[in-house]
């Protein structure tokens, strides 16, 4: 059980990384882009870059708002 948990923690850290919100924003933005393209017929090539730049800024702000990460 302990080994399973550590394997899960390794893969979570490997794929998701330090801030799960970034992963959540990217996945949501890709899904929204697909919806806009296939349902609404909008060629939303700009949506993913805008969301990713926003997520990066938000994540940096959260990391530096307190004392910062000094790992």
């Amino acid at each position: 059980m302990k080994r399973l948990r550590s394997i899960g923690a390794f893969w979570y850290d490997f794929v998701v990384g330090d801030d799960w919100r970034v992963a959540a924003v990217v996945v949501s933005a890709v899904a929204l882009t697909a919806l806009l393209v296939h349902v609404a017929g909008v060629n939303a090539w700009w949506l993913l870059p805008v969301c990713v730049f926003g997520a990066l800024g938000w994540s940096l702000h959260r990391a530096t708002a307190g004392t910062g990460e000094n790992q």
């Binding site: 992963a23 990217v26 882009t33 090539w45 993913l48 997520a55 990460e69 790992q71």
Partner: protein, 258 residues
């Protein structure tokens, strides 16, 4: 698309990880035993090569749009995490990765461990230390090699980039016999983060059905835009750090203790 950006991106990403793996291998070899260290390193490299050989060609059977959707999203997540870490380190909000101190930590742990022989390996500690170091650092490289290689339908070029980096770093490490503390790891991480994010955005959106203005050529515009936004965030954080913080009320006045 030309193979050169693919080879260069994989080369730089692989060089960063190989530098970190080399620190562990040197700590193990110089303080414990070279034979067991090389055995651990060789087994890890075989495992990594097997993963590339098995997963790489298998993924080419997946339809390109689906592959780009999943891999693009993963690369964008990966790239932003690399950029985030590099920006935090460049602005002093996170300590820089220091190969010299990482080496000293590994040496201290290696000296303290006892020598035990197991499964034909003289020094099991040296074997596992080297095996785990190379395998864990190599997994990110394998991910990049497979995703970039399969998406570009050019796995061979990605493997060339990775192999070249491993050879360059290994030969340099063997020649100098000290951790490569002078490698500008953070700058390289920053550059790789920009490339991973750019390719991730391009493939992720394309996999979702988007048609990029200018098609493949839009990637040439996307890379500088990602670089400029990242540099902008870096400059902004540096400026904020130099502005003195406003006076903070005494904790007891706000009832805050942490």
């Amino acid at each position: 698309m030309n193979s050169l950006p693919l080879i260069l991106t994989v080369f730089v990403a692989c060089a960063v990880e190989a530098t970190e793996a080399l620190t562990i291998v040197l700590a193990s070899g110089l303080t414990r035993e070279w034979r067991s260290t090389f055995q651990g390193m060789a087994v890890a490299l075989v495992v990594l090569a097997a993963v590339v050989a098995a997963v790489g060609p298998a993924l080419t059977l997946v339809p390109l749009a689906a592959l780009r959707l999943v891999v693009g999203a993963l690369l964008a997540i990966f790239g932003v995490q690399w950029l985030r870490k590099a920006i935090l380190r460049a602005t002093g909000h996170k300590s820089l990765h220091d190969e010299a101190s990482a080496y000293l930590r590994e040496v201290a742990a290696a000296k303290a461990a006892t020598v035990t022989s197991r499964r034909g390996v003289n020094d099991w500690y040296a074997f596992t230390l080297s095996f785990k170091g190379v395998l864990l650092e190599g997994l990110e490289v394998v991910f990049i090699v497979i995703t970039f290689g399969d998406n570009q339908r050019d796995l061979g070029a990605a493997v060339i980039g990775a192999a070249a980096a491993v050879i360059v770093i290994t030969v340099t490490g063997i020649a100098v016999r000290v951790p490569l503390a002078r490698v500008p790891e953070n700058a390289m991480k920053f550059a790789v983060g920009i490339m991973l994010t750019s390719f991730g955005l391009f493939w992720g959106a394309e996999g979702a059905g988007v048609s990029w203005p200018g098609h493949d050529a839009s990637l040439l515009g996307l890379v500088p835009v990602v670089a400029l936004v990242s540099l902008g965030y870096t400059l902004m954080l540096r400026q904020w750090r130099t502005i003195p913080a406003p006076p903070v009320a005494h904790p007891s006045e706000e009832g805050v203790t942490s």
